[in-house]
């Protein structure tokens, strides 16, 4: 979903420019150091600019704009974690500064910390609801977090205001299809296709087929999308999923790795590759994938459950117990979590607790069977 990520990249930049700095002071004065920092920054010497900003801020720690520029330079150098720290310091001084908040959101986004990025963007969008780019980036965050309903609520009014905006059609279509509203989602796909064949439209059609468990058709759609634009964000993650579902494990792994090479924070590719590697007994790499998936979606139940299974596998029953107890607390109907929690308890020699979990599973399954329509029982 770099559609909007790319468009917004220009926003993350200098807050303070050379014209804002006085020229009368000498080169060793704080102003001279700052001017030098700005010159280096604008000339592309990012490492030099960072050093000069830091030198200046040692002397004038309260200069909000210089601190923000330091954050921008750090972000440009790919050091998002330090950029986040600097932006936060700047916001402590001026919490309502929207450009800095936007830059902070982008730094979070680039660092793969989608949840706090969404939090910052919500603040920006609340202040400036009419600005398209923060809205699109927030919608993209929601999609990455799997919060499809929130994306729909955000994009629906915007789509009605600007019905010809293909980026909005694409993102809203994605959210609708993932939310199970395939018919409405496919209407938007048709609209995208009206302007000619597009990789985005085929990706969405593929996702729609995938959610209907029509794996062969999904594979065909993803194949068409790949033929048009093999670089389309998320495409290889979904293509790999369809390959795995149709039995091409080797191809699936290659597709997931391709996706992650261009976007290490793609949730689908991380999660699905984690599952493949787990099946292959490559537990260490599998864990890294699930952990990365969890960084993107910090509350994701599926990734947390898989990590708990890996803990069980590795003999870390206590760690697994903590995670599984939390999962069943959140959703007492989660049969799989109860089953694995029983195993964790048994391995911890907590037999009565394990027995309780098993009894619960039998109760839940019996209730499910009783609720199933006649003839549906296995």
């Amino acid at each position: 979903m770099l559609v909007c990520g790319r468009a917004l990249a220009g926003l993350a930049g200098l807050i303070l420019s050379i014209s804002d700095v006085g020229w009368c002071q000498g080169a060793d004065s704080p102003e001279g150091i700052l001017r030098h920092a700005l010159q280096l920054h604008q000339a592309g010497d990012i490492a030099g600019a960072i050093a000069e900003y830091r030198a200046y801020l040692n002397q004038v720690p309260d200069n909000l704009m210089a601190r923000s520029n330091l954050g921008a330079a750090l972000a440009r150098a790919g050091n998002y974690e330090d950029a986040i720290v600097e932006y936060h310091k700047a916001l402590e001084q001026q919490p309502g500064n929207l450009p800095i908040r936007m830059n902070l959101a982008l730094a979070y986004y680039k660092a793969g910390k989608i949840s706090p990025a969404a939090g910052e963007l919500e603040g920006v969008v609340a202040e400036r609801p009419g600005e398209r780019q923060p809205v699109l980036l927030l919608a993209d965050c929601y999609l990455r977090l799997g919060e499809d309903r929130k994306a729909i609520d955000l994009l629906d009014p915007l789509q009605q205001q600007t019905p010809d905006d293909k980026a909005i059609d694409y993102m809203l279509g994605t959210a609708l299809i993932r939310d199970g509203q395939s018919a409405r989602g496919e209407l938007l796909v048709d609209r995208i296709l009206r302007d000619g064949d597009s990789a985005e439209a085929h990706l969405l059609m593929g996702e729609s087929r995938l959610s209907a468990k029509d794996f062969a058709d999904a594979l065909e759609e993803f194949g068409k999308a790949l033929a048009i634009n093999p670089q389309l964000p998320s495409l290889n993650g979904y293509y790999g999923t369809a390959l795995a579902d149709t039995g091409d494990i080797t191809g699936a792994e290659a597709a997931f790795r391709k996706e992650l090479a261009s976007d290490p924070n793609d949730y689908v590719a991380n999660f699905q590759l984690g599952k493949l590697l787990e099946g292959d007994a490559n537990y260490a790499e599998s864990r890294r994938c699930f952990e990365r998936a969890l960084t993107v979606r910090p509350h994701d139940r599926a990734a947390r459950y898989q990590l708990a299974l890996l803990d069980l596998e590795a003999g870390q029953a206590e760690q697994a117990r903590v995670a599984l107890e939390s999962l069943v607390r959140e959703n007492p109907q989660d049969v799989d979590a109860h089953i694995s929690l029983a195993t964790a308890y048994y391995r911890l020699k907590r037999k009565p607790d394990g027995n309780k979990q098993r009894a619960l599973v039998l109760e839940l399954n019996a209730a499910k069977q009783a609720a199933a329509p006649a003839g549906m029982s296995k």
Binding site: G247, A281, G315, I339, Y346, S377
Partner: protein, 337 residues
């Protein structure tokens, strides 16, 4: 140590191996004892399959489709005809020794198929394969068999043979028929190599006889299905009778830590099933006895399993399976779980 040990068991990977001959060099008695068992013969080559040899022409009619399994020399061919078209394919392997039944697999279009018709010992002929009940074939190939996905095919061969699955992928070229030593003793190859090298320290293997009930059931359940696997599917009713670890776990007397109630309490993993029901009494009285001041049966003193582990007639399976959910069976009560 146990969790780490369990992790070794649960790795669903069977290393490429050359069968059990390496083990037999030192463990001749165990391997000789094991070879004639149904587990060791869970997959048979067509040329050696006694059932296919003894029944050279089997037929089965299902709606418009007529299935014939005909012997031709060392091969057996499945042919399905509908009056309009016909489909023929040689059987690749026979699954199961045939005490209850035997299903066949064949290859078509690069995929593994499970035959839609299986042999049943009770009837001495073909009938619908048990998992296919309630389904209708739409093509002549579907009438011959059900296409399995790569993961399912790997699972089938992972249990019915050894040496065939690596990294979750089936390698037909390295199939060794039947369950082998390393199917359970997953460190067998490493052990054999270390013994050959005279390296006693690394030759040590997990001692499976030390496992508690739950650990044993998890090990056997890799193929016979664990409680967790069945519970996850939500399956219930008589179909579950085929999954002994699941049934045993549901028994009131099952205790995860107690070695007196594990699979190997009654079944010798290297030997044949003991058909003398009275021989199991000692297993029950190891817990239920007046000497131990525990609950004892007020109805009978012997042949415990005939009442407490009833035979269940599974519709379509032409076989009565022993229910491993040990219980006091009351007349008219529904099948539990």
């Amino acid at each position: 140590m146990r969790p780490a040990l369990l992790a070794l068991f649960l790795v669903p990977v069977v290393a490429a191996g050359s069968g059990d001959s390496a083990c037999a060099a030192c463990h001749a008695q165990e391997t000789a004892h094991f070879r004639p068992t149904p587990m060791a013969q869970a997959l048979l080559l067509v040329e050696n399959c006694e059932i296919l040899k003894a029944h050279p022409d089997m037929q089965f009619q299902e709606g418009p489709y007529h299935t014939q399994i005909k012997r031709e020399g060392d091969r057996s061919i499945i042919t399905v005809t509908s009056g309009v078209e016909s489909f023929s394919v040689p059987i690749l392997y026979a699954l199961g020794q045939g005490k209850a039944g035997q299903t066949y697999v064949f290859q078509h279009d690069g995929a593994i198929y499970e035959s839609r018709a299986s042999f049943y010992n009770e009837t001495g002929g073909l009938d619908l394969t048990i998992g296919d009940q309630g389904t209708t074939p739409h093509t002549i190939v579907e009438a011959a068999g059900r296409r399995t996905g790569p993961a399912e095919a790997a699972n089938c061969f992972g249990c019915h043979s050894h040496g065939a699955v690596a990294g979750g992928i089936l390698h037909l070229e390295s199939v060794v028929p039947g369950v082998g030593c390393q199917s359970c003793h997953v460190q067998a190859e490493k052990h054999a190599a270390a013994v050959r090298a005279g390296n006693v320290a690394t030759a040590k293997m997990a001692h499976l006889a030390d496992l508690a009930a739950e650990e044993t059931l998890e090990l056997c359940g890799q193929c016979h299905r664990t409680w967790a696997q069945i519970a996850q599917t939500g399956m219930h009713g008589p179909n579950t009778v085929r999954f002994q670890p699941y049934r045993l776990t549901n028994s009131k007397c099952y205790d995860v830590e107690d070695q007196r109630i594990r699979c190997t309490t009654c079944h010798d993993p290297h030997g044949q099933i003991n058909t003398n029901l009275a021989s199991y009494d000692a297993k029950c009285t190891a817990c239920h006895s007046t000497a131990l001041h525990t609950e004892v049966c007020s109805v009978a003193k012997d042949n415990c399993v005939t009442c407490h582990m009833p035979k269940i007639d599974l519709p379509g399976a032409h076989h009565k399976f022993t229910d491993h959910q040990i219980r006091i069976v009351k007349a008219g009560e529904p099948y539990p779980n």
